[in-house]
Subunit: 129 residues, 2 copies
DNA sequence: CTCCTTAATAGTAATGATTACTAATAATAG
DNA sequence: CTATTATTAGTAATCATTACTATTAAGGAG
């Protein structure tokens, strides 16, 4: 394994962002730093960083998003589609049904605080079936 | 909304399978019943069934898999890549950090029972970094 | 039952995220 | 400094999914 400025740059972008960026968004930012960086390089390094537990991933609507490597869960709002970080209470590795749990991730789905407040203000409206 | 034999067929396949089938696998089975069913029809109906909470989805390695609509979580084995159903303890809807939780899903990752036993038998070997 | 409206379908083309390929570049060991 | 080869840039290919369109058929009205 060799150190490259490309990998450092990609890691720094993921590690310093709180916005759950997807590969292309990371590429867009990396381009500002390394003008001719390749999209393939971004994908390759994101895969490497993910495999080596340097970054975490979350999949929303079939698109992989990358996240700094701090254990936490996610709340996805059905209304505004925002992803909100949820701190994790316990992080004990354990067995479940005899299977060794190395890691787990929780994805909550619902309506976020802001959207709840907005609905409150406007009077709650429900979509018709 | 109209009832079609295609939608019924697709629903039956998902609802009677324990194998977390992806869209193409469902298409393969559906073809045996309705010889000229279209892949697009399978996708369209899976989306509809999912939106209307008739089936559940789980994403593994970027591919959507479909599951009968019984609340449970999933364990994904890093070794054999099998998906194992994990019954859920509590299913209380609630608020978390002020956000209304409508549903959540837990994806455990680790080494499954069978693979643990196999490793035990062969002597535990770890991949080198 | 028959006709009509139109939702849903089959078949195919297009899209978009991701991966594969290849010649050129650059990180590191000697 | 030089040689080796991992990594890259650029581009083409893949593959899951979605969009499009002419045709079919569900189901309500007469």
């Amino acid at each position: 394994m060799r150190n490259t400025k490309q990998r450092d740059c990609i890691f720094d972008i993921v590690n310093s962002s709180y916005n759950h960026l997807n590969a292309y968004q990371i590429y867009d930012i990396a381009e500002k730093v390394i003008y001719n960086i390749s999209l393939g390089t971004v994908y390759r390094n994101l895969a490497w960083l993910s495999e080596h537990n340097k970054v975490r991933t979350i999949v929303v609507d079939g698109i992989v998003r990358y996240d700094r490597n701090v254990v936490h869960d996610h709340f996805i709002c059905n209304e505004c589609k925002n992803i909100i970080d949820i701190p994790r209470n316990d992080n004990s590795n354990n067995y479940i049904d005899g299977n060794l749990v190395i890691d787990y991730d929780v994805k909550y789905v619902g309506i976020c605080k802001k959207c709840l407040e907005r609905k409150e203000k406007n009077g709650i409206k429900r979509k018709q079936d």
